[in-house]
Symmetry: C2
Subunit: 434 residues, 2 copies
């Protein structure tokens, strides 16, 4: 039986489109069918226009000769500017905002033959107050956030790709909760011009997709290294695993699944050892939060000073908290991040990558919170690449439909090695579930 | 004869203040006297409040126990947020804007015992349309820009320190035109939260001061490495000099003065050779401009979309130009910068630093332009540290009062080595003029 187009990997769709074995219109139709079936429940999109999408697809079919993205649709988080398409940042402050220029990442994706399929729901201004999106696997549960709609759209097969942003865990956590691949490249790899600033030090543009190869295709284009090919199929990597100093916060099922993943890596020939945390590295969680909150208060100065009544109470409180943080504490937090990044081999040892839980467990019940970023904060302050890999049922042993995810973390700049390890792990997990 | 306090180096003032050999009030009075004498002509300040400054100084004198900046005043470019002090960005769009939080760099300086002495005139939104500031050495000439008031305030001894920002040459060029030290650290060394974004890839916070040691004192605090001490007094550095592929644009006096500096370095035992430009490096000027203009169009989307009539015609045109730049051209420009940074030793050879002109010549006549950034663009895209060092009359052989400057450029991250070389060169220049 043939899978519907929207269930094929993006890399396969791109090959078929380039070979003209399928039309952009048919591909777009397939994703629009999924939108038709799922969107009323999932609520991933802040804006979508099926007719516009089909017109672009037909024009692509006429013009031909597209780039690496071959005419594929991309869902874009609504804090990323899109020319002539509303970009409202999940806040009434930005209601009706219609930028006239694409963000750099959107322009780059479009130049490579992608197009803006729709804008996805974000938590308020890429922070913590959720939008309307529900977890596609269980609508009473959060999809995670702040890139809520991007993760949910890919999980519900309503888009092959989505763009998101991460300041703490806004890509990795929703990817884990929704059961998709979420990739955050090394800080600075993808230009941020035209993206709402939350924390100048921490903000990173990231990618959602269904497979590691798909995420690498989009990330390669956006980080302008497409010619290098990000996924190299390599031998078993060396892995330092860690359930982190916050392991007591893991659910039993996450903890058990994580142990099974470590064992699977070892069984398949990876060199596996446990990472050792120094006292300095254990302060990364607090330090990341300090940098984020201090800088968020600066990024949203104008909104807070002139439109405070249109901020959610939690965001207004966060800004107040950020203003009250002393410069000395902020400087210490930044210094902690730099010191850890400068001595990162203490944690990695000789390993290629770290392996850690992506979240404390599955998506919590309720839509009033996007979940806990504790397991994301330390890696994000280090500034290196991070990727969530969803776990198959054979590993989770779960009775529920809610996914679990593990993440691989690389040294800053080591994106190619991280993606090779991620591909290796994804393939071993697929074998295990076959 | 005793020099007035405002003519002493900041490092000396800091030592005297810490030892309580002088009061903050007396120091502040001395700079306010200079403001009284020079500001009507120079117009360096967008905002200054002498009574407030004196009150802060007196409170410092009462409290004591200040940090490395010891109660010294700092002039702050008006694109950098200051809590409770107008921050209008040189644009009517921001008239009356009164942020309630200090930018991260201002908060850091204040935590180290500095205080905001005044806000300095910036070219419109840190771009190219000048404000009211005149060159302190010749009021019919531009002070350079966009950090016009910061350079002029330090040159006129109205402040010991000033903060600026640079996207192309907005620190180095006004420092050269005004005859002060201007230091741009490695991209990312000083946090930018609370600073107007012009180009996310390129914007850097920089420092103005009267001497290399003074600039290092402020930069050490802001880049959170104060304990390391940025100026090490080292032996003669190895220097690769270059008048760049744009040497034909240098004035005769700049060209001759530059040759004399090269000879002086050699005469004092520096290892000196000429840098060799590959074709790739020669494209850095165009590439920097492309990245800047493309990203500026994204940074000012809201201003352009909703307040276009309050932009200057040149800035509106620049935004239009940025919107019309193709993503492919933008990506090529970023790739050029990354490729050059990745092969920077081709240009540096084994040298510690590069030596180059800071500008085509002295400050041009007229106030309608801030001068030509061609000699700044290539270094700024590379992302490493840059410093302007003013030349004494014995080197410039100039009949006019207008200063000339040379710059040293370091590899990204090599700030300590750059400052050591800068201190060495500054001392040799002072010897030559003695």
């Amino acid at each position: 039986m043939q899978l519907p187009l929207n269930r094929l990997p993006a890399v396969k769709l791109a090959r078929m489109l380039s070979a003209r074995e399928v039309t952009c219109e048919a591909v777009t139709h397939s994703f629009l069918d999924a939108v038709e079936q799922r969107e009323a429940e999932v609520r991933a999109f802040a804006w979508i226009d099926p007719e516009r999408a089909l017109n672009i697809a037909r024009e692509f079919d006429r013009a031909g000769g597209l780039g690496l993205l071959a005419g594929l649709p991309i869902a874009v988080k609504d804090v990323i500017d899109t020319a002539g398409i509303p970009t409202e940042c999940g806040s009434p402050i930005f209601a009706g905002r219609l930028p006239q220029a694409d963000a750099a990442c959107v322009a780059t994706a479009r130049a490579a033959g992608g197009y803006v399929f729709g804008k996805t729901v974000t938590a308020e201004m890429a922070n913590f107050t959720p939008g309307a999106t529900r977890n596609p696997h269980a609508p009473a549960h959060t999809p995670g956030g702040s890139s809520s709609g991007s993760a949910a759209a890919v999980a519900a097969r309503m888009a092959p790709f989505a763009l998101g942003t991460q300041t703490a865990g806004s890509v990795i956590r929703p990817a884990a909760f929704c059961g998709v691949v979420g990739f955050v490249p090394t800080r600075g790899a993808i230009p941020r011009a035209g993206v709402l600033q939350v924390s100048d030090t921490l903000d990173v543009v990231g990618c959602f997709a269904s497979t590691v190869e798909d995420a690498a295709l989009l990330a390669d284009v956006l980080s302008m290294r497409a010619s290098q090919g990000m996924v190299t199929k390599s031998a078993a990597p060396s892995i330092a695993w860690t359930d982190t100093p916050w392991a007591a916060q893991l659910t039993a099922s996450m903890s058990e699944a994580f142990s099974r993943v470590v064992r699977l890596c070892s069984d398949h020939g990876a060199s596996v050892r446990q990472a050792v945390w120094s006292d300095l590295f254990a302060t990364l969680v607090d330090a990341q939060r300090t940098v984020q909150v201090f800088e968020t208060a600066r990024a949203f100065t104008d909104e807070s000073d002139s439109a405070r009544e249109r901020l959610s109470a939690p965001l207004a409180a966060l800004i107040d908290e950020g203003r009250a943080i002393s410069a000395a504490r902020y400087v210490s937090a930044l210094q902690c991040g730099r010191a850890c990044a400068g001595t990162i081999d203490q944690l990695f040892g000789g390993a290629d990558v770290l392996l850690a839980p992506s979240a404390p467990g599955a998506a919590p019940h309720g839509l009033e919170s996007t979940g806990d970023p504790t397991f994301n904060r330390p890696w994000h302050l280090l500034g290196g690449p991070q990727i969530n890999i969803p776990l198959p049922r054979s590993i989770t042993h779960s009775a529920s439909d809610l996914p679990l995810g593990v993440q691989l973390v690389g040294r800053p700049g080591d994106d190619v090695r991280l993606m090779a390890a991620a591909y290796w792990l994804e393939q071993r997990l697929l074998q295990a579930s076959a």
